[in-house]
């Protein structure tokens, strides 16, 4: 544990020395998760591209009942009586649009950007000032209208060097959040106990509050959380929250989509499976069924979000779904790592789907005859 603390404390210096990705092993009681950061390529341009944003939004499957649930950490101290209104159809539509907008705001994904580079530019070295004072001097530009990120903050060390301040000191001076880190992020035991208790949303929200998205600690914490979720296949806990997008992006970036794919197939969501494939294609472009999936996406997106299982299918639905099934089948045979399990799941889904098709076709005939 002491070695770990040493490594943690010297993260900064480690980054100075070598640009290769450093992997720090953190062993928990049962799982050993390796936090892998977005090293190498910058994920930001890909993350913010509109196509991928649409895909991620669709994958989160926003369920308004969960998005607008009662939260304990909201600022209302006392419950209030509900208010009622009589509305026409038109006004109802306007209200729904407003609700969509606020849902978008609530589901705004925390950005995925690469880890910030340590600031290390020395402005001047004046050894003549050695011994002047034992304290560091910090100079901040307090002109109005300048963003906190772009503010000039420089320090004069006791040994006379004038340099730009590092990110940690900048953060402290910009008076953003509490100086002290919460215990859950300092103590590994506590952090892992929270994850074992499946409190993913709380951990991710807290990390968002405490850290900027370009800090190495933030990346480390989120990567451990995402991997934990992946191992336990507990994706449903994060669905309809703002963290599902970055989770899906992370898994696809690091090419470990198979668990998610399996879960989607087991819950009979072929369309979202195809969306996932399209995402993979967009990020890496190494799928054999890549173009097909991208083409299907444009057909899937207009259809409404499927929250509950469908009982009746229309002809267009059936055609679309069959195409999706073929696409997924191709993927399983070529690129998947969990072939057998996914194959089984797909088989099960095929049978179930066949029954549904027969049922709906039969019903239609009956209605048509009557």
């Amino acid at each position: 544990m002491s070695l770990l603390k040493l490594v943690q404390n010297n993260t900064k210096s480690a980054f100075f020395r070598c640009n290769e990705p450093k992997i720090f092993l953190i062993s928990s009681r049962k799982l050993s998760i390796v936090p892998s950061i977005y090293d190498g390529e910058d994920p930001a341009p890909k993350f913010f591209s509109s196509g991928i944003q649409i895909l991620l939004k669709r994958l989160t499957r926003p369920d308004f009942a969960k998005v607008f649930r009662k939260r304990n950490n909201s600022n209302i101290s006392v419950l209030r009586t509900p208010k009622y209104k009589f509305v026409t159809d038109e006004e109802l539509r306007m209200e729904k649009l407003k609700a969509d907008k606020s849902a978008d705001r609530l589901l705004q994904m925390p950005p995925v950007v690469k880890v910030h580079k340590p600031i290390d530019d020395v402005l001047s070295i004046d050894p003549a000032l050695i011994g002047y004072d034992s304290a560091k001097y910090l100079f901040t530009d307090i002109s109005f209208g300048v963003d906190n990120e772009h503010r000039t903050i420089i320090e004069r060390d006791p040994d006379g060097t004038l340099r730009s301040c590092d990110h940690a000191e900048r953060k402290r001076l910009n008076q953003g959040r509490k100086i002290r880190e919460p215990l859950i992020f300092q103590d590994e035991e506590k952090f892992h106990s929270l994850l074992d208790r499946l409190q993913y949303e709380y951990v991710l929200d807290r990390a968002c509050v405490q850290y900027e998205p370009d800090e190495p600690t933030y990346h480390k914490l989120t990567s451990i959380t995402y991997q934990h979720i992946d191992l336990k296949s507990m994706y449903d806990l994060l669905r309809s929250t703002r963290h599902f997008g970055p989770l899906a992006f992370y898994l696809t970036w690091h090419k470990s989509v198979d668990n998610l794919m399996l879960e989607l197939l087991q819950s009979a969501d072929v369309r979202e499976a195809v969306l996932l494939l399209a995402l993979r294609q967009a990020l890496h472009g190494d799928l054999s069924s890549g173009e097909e999936s991208s083409a299907l996406v444009s057909q899937i997106l207009p259809t409404p979000v499927q929250l509950t299982k469908k009982e009746q299918l229309s002809e267009e639905d059936i055609q679309l779904d069959t195409k999706c099934i073929e696409c997924v089948d191709k993927y399983i045979n070529t690129n998947s790592a969990m072939k057998s399990q996914q194959g089984l799941a797909l088989q099960g889904f095929r049978e179930h789907y066949q029954q549904l098709v027969e049922l709906s076709r039969g019903l239609k005939k009956a209605h048509g005859a009557a």
């Binding site: 909201s74 009622y84 509305v87």
Partner: protein, 429 residues
């Protein structure tokens, strides 16, 4: 012959005892052997002449006229005590063993004999204590759960479910007394007669409830009548979400006016105690009711029931208005949920200009509740108040700071304390 001898013997032994024993001075009686008198040893005295009942009656009785006026029924009256209580035949001032009476004749193989047992010195005190507890008018003490609205009075207390009718049992029902009063009426033949009137509400907490009034000469009888009547007159009420009414309303009965407001979960029942009992019987958990005008209890109950019966469910409201009914909850970030939709929805053009579209106004039948203006507190208009606020600003946040410091560092200290530790208290002295 033998008896004569025995008689002589007794005559002799006594003076012998006198001489031999030298008994104390208490014995100052003189045996009068010369002249004799017949003193009657009477077994009958005042207390034996009549049975206990008659004796007691003579002490405590009240005349007929007095009884009609209700005299001799309150706290001052003397109670009849049964003096036999606490005493067993065979046990008395002198504690003796009487075989055949208070003990068996043969115990095992032994033939018991009459013998004197050790005295119980506290026997008299025990008896007195027992008799004292019988006399005083004890105030009936109820546990807080059984207690009604006040003391040991009936209003607010529960009297169980109504009596089962032919084949129907009132499972899950509980009745509460709302009113129990004694009425006096003047009759031509009897004069003043006393009647008890009880008002009772019964319900099962699932939407079924009813109230009933009963009159009888005795209080328990009146309660029973009222209870059964309430059981016969049950009404079904629909409850929104299991805890409150569908919308605010206003009702009146006589000069009693009620403004009732629907409230959110967890608000509780902020209303007149009678309305509270009714709500608990029905199953409403959150409500606010403001009483105005007369507070005649029967009118309040009737007004409230009328108002509940006149309530419209959300579906009915939507049908009346032919518009969607949308609910906004603050804890759900005011997300609009459609609660009820009519079959045909009107468009904007079809709505006349002067129609009340505001939900509360429509539901209260265009009545508007007066919201009183809140005037500043008496100290806020005083001259020094602003200066006080400016001074208070310095330490307004100190409580929170102390809490935060205790949470972070375990005690109240500055972050500089690690570098520049404070000198210890003891050393300073």
């Amino acid at each position: 012959m033998a008896s004569k001898l025995l008689a002589l013997r007794s005559l002799i032994s006594k003076p012998l005892n006198l001489i031999v024993n030298q008994t104390p001075q208490k014995l100052d009686f003189v045996y009068n052997l010369k002249s004799f008198s017949t003193t009657s040893v009477s077994n009958i005295n005042f207390f034996n002449k009549l049975p206990a009942e008659k004796l007691w009656k003579s002490v405590t009785s009240v005349s007929n006229a007095g009884a009609k006026k209700g005299r001799g029924k309150g706290a001052g009256r003397i109670r009849i005590r049964d003096l036999n209580r606490g005493q067993i035949i065979g046990v008395g001032k002198v504690n003796m063993l009487w075989p055949g009476l208070s003990a068996p004749v043969i115990r095992g193989r032994e033939l018991l004999k009459q013998q004197r047992l050790p005295d119980d010195p506290e026997r008299m005190e025990k008896l007195i204590k027992l008799r004292d507890s019988m006399t005083k008018f004890r105030r009936l003490k109820l546990s807080p759960i059984e207690r009604g609205w006040s003391g040991s009075r009936m209003p607010g207390r529960s009297i169980g479910p109504p009596d089962p009718v032919v084949d129907e049992e009132f499972t899950g029902f509980d009745t509460k007394v709302l009113q129990l009063r004694s009425l006096l009426i003047m009759k031509g033949t009897l004069g003043r007669t006393r009647n008890y009137q009880a008002m009772v509400v019964t319900g099962n907490g699932q939407g079924l409830a009813g109230f009933g009034i009963g009159k009888a000469k005795e209080a328990p009888a009146a309660l029973r009548k009222a209870k059964n009547r309430a059981g016969k007159k049950l009404m079904n009420f629909e409850i929104y979400d299991g805890h409150t009414i569908f919308h605010d309303f206003f009702t009146a009965f006589g000069k009693t006016k009620l403004y009732v407001q629907k409230k959110n979960k967890g608000y509780g029942l902020s209303c007149h105690r009678a309305i509270k009992e009714i709500c608990q019987a029905i199953g409403i958990k959150d409500l606010r009711a403001k009483l105005e005008g007369s507070n005649n209890l029967q009118h309040i109950v009737k007004a409230f029931f009328i108002g509940l019966l006149q309530q419209r469910t959300h579906q009915q409201l939507a049908e009346e208005k032919k518009l969607h009914l949308v609910e906004y909850k603050a804890e759900n970030q005011n997300y609009p949920t459609v609660v009820a939709s009519p079959e045909y929805v009107r468009t904007k053009e079809e709505i006349p200009k002067d129609e009340t579209l505001d939900f509360i106004q429509y539901v209260m039948n265009d009545r508007v509740i007066l919201r009183r203006k809140k005037f500043p507190r008496f100290f806020q208009t005083m001259p020094h108040y602003e200066i006080y606020l400016k001074k208070y600003e310095k330490y307004r946040n100190h409580e929170k700071i102390r809490l935060n410091l205790k949470a972070e560092y375990g005690e109240i200290k500055s972050f500089l304390n690690d570098k520049y530790p404070e000198p210890k208290e003891g050393k300073e002295e």
